[in-house]
Amino acid sequence: MTLRVLDPRLSAEGEAARLAAPLASLDGALVGLLDNAKIGTARFYDYLETMLRERYRVREVIRRRKPDSSRPVPPELLGELSAADAIVSGIGD
């Protein structure tokens, strides 16, 4: 006699996340840098910001730091980044 066993996994609900369409160019763009509050992120973003401004000629960089590395970004902080043409979000260490 066979057994019928149940799948233990829970599927994610809702629509799958989609990548935004890439920008044609960073020239003149407004770029957001979201710091995940890990110890090395600020230094990495300092370097990245210089590169974005000097090599890719972005118009403006908005930098924001999550208050807590292990919790979601507060909505008001996301709102402050909403004007950006592109956002770099830090994950991991």
Binding site: L3, R4, L6, P8, S70
Partner: protein, 344 residues
């Protein structure tokens, strides 16, 4: 029997069911009890829940946890149906925002949820609170803790190398559950201290790093014992994380007798440890962390506990031996212990 909501698979026998789960990474590496439709229905019927009843919501990824998935994890882990209320209470506790389930699951820090069970349910399930209490040998202790791990693996996707980014992890990530020895303790049970009604069955869930065993068998002074606990906590603050939050200490009978004879309550012990478990930033220089010591004022004193209430004192362990254990938090106050009643 209600129709299950989960997809199902037909397999030849229990051996092939285990092979299916092993091949798909749906277990912790140990064999499982096949979660058949019949068994899962029996477990749900024991708690009077429909398969799609929502037990809790993981707050970061907003995973709504249906009772059926918790029952599947409990069957797989080797639970009996009457263990399920304890597993459900622990899942509800872990879904509280202050527990920070996503962070503790995903972090390189590699903590595991410790479950402390209080109240009459310990006796009705035959849980262990004495010999080898942090080790093997008790079916309810082993399988209730394991059910939570399988829940994290399959329901939250806490798969090592995927969402679970632990550098090391620790053995408590297979299972980590104990009962408090209320019958042989002069003290209030942990859950009662944390606001549950006396005599109520409850779980306290706390994301901990690996337990650190200490020994002091050469004193009858309660303060000496507390000093040894505080020293182990200070060592953790320097070598692991300096940030304050909950700590747990498992106090064996031999130490409890010393505290009881001197009239020390759990509160007295908590206050003493709070006073003594402190380090200055400068001390980081003695443990190879000179590079980070000067980032802030080195004379500032850090406390392990934000207040005495942060220390979870658990009476448990075999009758002989001056061995206790300190259980450090994952990462300061980013995850806090949560106590929930068990719906019997």
């Amino acid at each position: 029997m209600e129709t299950p909501r989960s997809p199902s698979y037909e397999v030849a026998d229990a051996f092939e069911a285990n092979e299916l789960f092993q091949d798909n990474g749906w277990t912790d590496g140990l064999p499982i009890v096949p979660p058949t439709e019949t068994l899962v229905a029996r477990f749900l019927s024991a708690v009077g829940l429909a398969p799609d009843a929502i037990v809790g919501v993981e707050p970061v990824r907003r995973r709504r946890v249906p009772a059926e998935k918790v029952a599947i994890a409990a069957v797989m882990a080797g639970c009996r149906p009457d263990y399920l209320p304890v597993v459900l209470a622990a899942v509800r506790a872990m879904c509280e925002p202050e527990f920070g389930l996503h962070g503790v699951t995903a972090s390189t820090g590699g903590s595991a949820p410790l479950v402390v069970v209080n109240g009459p349910v310990r006796l009705s399930l035959g849980m262990n609170a004495t010999h080898n209490v942090l080790g093997n040998g008790s079916r309810p202790n082993a399988t209730i803790g394991r059910a939570l791990r399988l829940f994290i693996l399959n329901v939250l996707g806490g798969i090592p190398g995927q969402l679970d980014r632990s550098t090391l992890g620790h053995p408590g990530k297979f299972t980590f559950c104990l009962a408090e020895d209320e019958e042989d303790s002069p003290w209030l049970p942990l859950a009662t201290e944390r606001g549950m009604a006396p005599g109520a069955s409850a779980v306290t869930v706390f994301a901990v790093e690996s337990p650190h065993q200490i020994m002091n068998e050469w004193t009858h002074e309660p303060r000496d014992i507390a000093e040894t606990y505080a020293a182990a906590i200070r060592a953790n603050m320097l070598t692991y994380s300096i940030w304050s939050g909950n700590y747990a200490v498992v106090v064996p009978k031999q130490h409890r007798q010393i505290f009881a004879e001197a009239g020390w309550s759990k509160k007295d012990l908590r206050e003493c440890v709070h006073e003594r478990a402190r380090v200055s930033r400068r001390e980081w220089r003695t443990v190879g962390k000179s590079a980070v010591a000067p980032r802030k004022d080195e004379d500032v004193v850090y406390t392990a506990l934000r207040s005495p209430d942060d220390l979870l004192v658990v009476a448990a362990g075999g009758p002989a031996g001056g061995f206790a254990a300190i259980l450090p938090p994952w990462y300061g106050r980013k995850s806090l212990a949560v106590t929930k009643g068990i719906d019997a």
